[in-house]
Symmetry: C2
Subunit: 305 residues, 2 copies
DNA sequence: GCAAGCGGTAAGTATTCCTTATCATATGCT
DNA sequence: AGCATATGATAAGGAATACTTACCGCTTGC
C-alpha cells in the first residue's frame, strides 16, 4: 500500500535542489550523474508524480516543492537518530545505573568515577549503594546494569567477575590492647565484647566461626558501628576496605589466623549483554581494579585472572 | 561517517519485537525467516552493536531496548510522510489557488466548486477574482496555480486552453428602445450614450471599433456599472456571461454585426507542471466546461477541440 | 556556429536482497 | 527418556537494485 521511501534518493533530491543540478549533486555525492538521474526517476515512479520539471535545467515541480521540506525533515530525523545511536555505540553518550556495597562506593568509586567521566565525558552514571543483598537484588531485577559487591553464594542468574581480595581484620579503639598489634589470632578475641555487623558472616565456615555465637550487639549501620567503636563499646571485625580510615581513634589489625577474605567483584546478569555505556564501565572497572590497584589502599589485592 | 539506516530492517526489528520472534515476524512480513535474520544481522553490523541476545529466544539487548522506540518513531514519521505524499498524488488531499474573472467566478464557479469538493473532498480551493489582467499576473507570478480568463494576447510564458465562447451584446434598461430587440447592428448604437467598461476592448479590431472613441463614461466596477445602467445613464456592451441576469430591469441584446466574442479558457504557466490538486481542478474544469456546458447559461458555447 | 554545459539513455557489472535447503539447539509432549 | 517440533543461524544460488562507463540530444554562451 504505502511505498517505502529509501533515504538515499531523498538525499539525492535535496542535493540536486541545494546544488542546483544533477551534475553538481552527483559530484558532491560521489556518484555518477546517471546514478542520480535514475534514482530520482525511480523515486518519481514510486510516488507517481514528477519532482523535477522534465527537459530544462533542474527545477522543481509544484509537487517537488511540496516534497522537499518534508524530505528534509525526514532526513533530519534520520540523521539525528543515526548520530545518536552511533554516539551510544562509541560510548560518547549514554547512561548507566550501577550499585555497589558501601565500602566500594565510598572508598573506590570516587576516584574511579572521576577518571571515568574524564575518559567518557558523555556518559552519565548513577551510583546506588547498599549492602550485598541490595546489590544482588538490584542487578537481578534489572534496576542497575552492573553491581560491585561480594557474592555470598553463586547464583545461576548472575555472572561474578572477581576483582580484588579484601582481608578481614579486627577494628578497635587506639587505647585497646590490640591497637598496636601487627596481627591477631582468632582465639585472642574470645574474651572481648564483639560487635556484630553485616560483614560478620564472612567468618562463617572458618575456624573463627565460634566467635559469631557470642556477640552482645549487632549493628548493621556503619556510622552507628564506628561511633560505638569510638565510644569504646567493644571491637568488631571488618574487611579492610570497609574500615573507615578517617576515624583517628580506630585501629585496624589484620586477622592472621584464620585469614578470612571476601572477594569483591563485578556482578551482572548472566547471559544478558550490557548497554554500551555499562559495558564501558564494566571494562573500565575491571581494568582499574583487576590488575594493579592498591594505590595506598593496602589490605586488598587484585586478583590475577 | 554516519551510516544510512534503511527503513526495511527497522521494520523487521519492530516486527520481531511485536510478534516475539523471527519466524512470526517473517510470516507477517511475507518474507522468509533467513531474510529477516540476515537483515537484522546486517543492521547490527552497521550499528556495531547487537540488538538481540544471541542464542536464545529472540530477546532484546539493552541497546536493542534503547533502539526500538527510536526506530518506531522514525518509521512513524516515515509512514506519515509516505501516506501524506500518496494522498496528495491521489488527490485525496492538497490545496490549490486559482484566479478567475468576475463573470466566471460568480456565474460558473459556484456550481463547479460544489461539484469539485464533492468529487475531491480532501482538496481545499482558494478562489481569487479580478479582471483579466489580474488573473494573468497572478498566474505569471505563481500566486495562483491556474486562472480562468480570456487572453487578450498570446503570451510565451502562458498556456491558454480555450473552454467556451462568450458573445458580446448590448445591455440596456427595459424601457430602452433596444430592450425588446432580438439583435443589433453596431451602427444602431451610434447615437447612444455608451458606457465603457473593462470588456470594451473586445471591440478593438472589429468593425465596431469606432464606438470606442465616443464613450462619455468609463466604469470598470461591475456593481457601479449595473447601477448606472439601472439608473438609465446609458447603455454598454458586455459578454453574455458578464451580464448580471439578476437585475430585473436590464436587458441583454446580442450584437449580430459584427459578432464579437471572447474566448474564456484555462490559463497556466507554460512548461510548468501543476500540483496534483491543481491538475485535478484543471482537468475538472476542462471536463465540465470544455465539452457540454450551457445548462441554461445560453450565449456562450463550449469550444470543441 | 562551435564548445561546454545540461539531463537522459543504454548496456554491463557489482552489490544487495531474498529465496530454498539444511543445521544445531532448545522446548514440549507423551 | 525420547521423539516431535519449535527456535534462530548458515550456505549457496538467483533475482532485483544500484551503480558504472559510454554516448546521445538539447540548450546556452561566446
Amino acid at each position: 500500500m504505502l511505498p517505502d521511501l529509501k533515504i538515499q534518493p531523498l538525499r539525492y533530491v535535496l542535493a540536486i535542489v541545494d546544488h542546483g543540478g544533477f551534475h553538481a549533486a552527483a559530484r558532491q555525492l560521489h556518484r555518477s550523474q546517471p546514478a542520480v538521474s535514475m534514482a530520482v526517476r525511480e523515486l518519481e515512479a514510486r510516488l507517481g508524480e514528477a519532482l523535477f520539471e522534465k527537459g530544462a535545467q533542474a527545477s522543481l515541480t509544484p509537487f517537488g516543492k511540496y516534497c522537499v521540506p518534508r524530505f528534509r525533515e525526514l532526513i533530519l530525523q534520520h540523521d539525528r537518530l543515526s548520530r545518536d545511536l552511533l554516539a551510544q555505540v562509541e560510548r560518547q553518550a549514554g547512561h548507566l545505573d550501577m550499585a555497589a556495597v558501601p565500602s566500594v562506593a565510598s572508598r573506590l568509586m570516587p576516584s574511579l568515577l572521576s577518571e571515568f567521566v574524564e575518559r567518557y565525558p558523555g556518559i552519565r552514571v548513577a551510583l546506588h549503594d547498599g549492602n550485598a543483598d541490595f546489590v544482588r537484588e538490584q542487578v537481578l531485577g534489572g534496576e542497575v546494569d552492573i553491581g560491585l559487591s561480594s557474592l555470598w553464594q553463586p547464583d545461576e542468574a548472575l555472572t561474578f567477575t572477581p576483582l580484588l581480595r579484601d582481608k578481614v581484620g579486627v577494628v578497635c579503639r587506639d587505647d585497646h590492647p590490640f591497637a598496636d598489634r601487627a596481627s591477631l589470632h582468632w582465639r585472642e578475641l574470645a574474651g572481648e565484647t564483639l560487635i556484630g555487623n553485616g560483614t560478620s558472616r564472612l567468618l562463617e565456615g572458618t575456624e573463627a566461626e565460634a566467635l559469631l555465637a557470642s556477640p552482645t550487639f549487632f549493628i548493621s549501620n556503619m556510622i552507628s558501628l564506628t561511633a560505638s567503636l569510638v565510644a569504646g563499646l567493644g571491637i568488631t571485625t571488618l574487611p579492610r576496605l570497609a574500615f573507615a580510615e578517617e576515624y583517628e581513634r580506630l585501629r585496624f589489625v589484620p586477622l592472621e589466623c584464620p585469614v578470612v577474605e571476601r572477594q569483591v567483584g563485578l556482578v551482572r546478569l548472566a547471559g544478558r549483554s550490557l548497554s554500551p555505556a555499562a559495558a564501558a564501565m564494566a571494562a573500565f572497572v575491571v581494568e582499574r581494579l583487576g590488575e594493579s590497584s592498591g594505590q595506598g589502599l593496602g589490605g586488598h589485592a587484585p586478583i590475577s585472572q
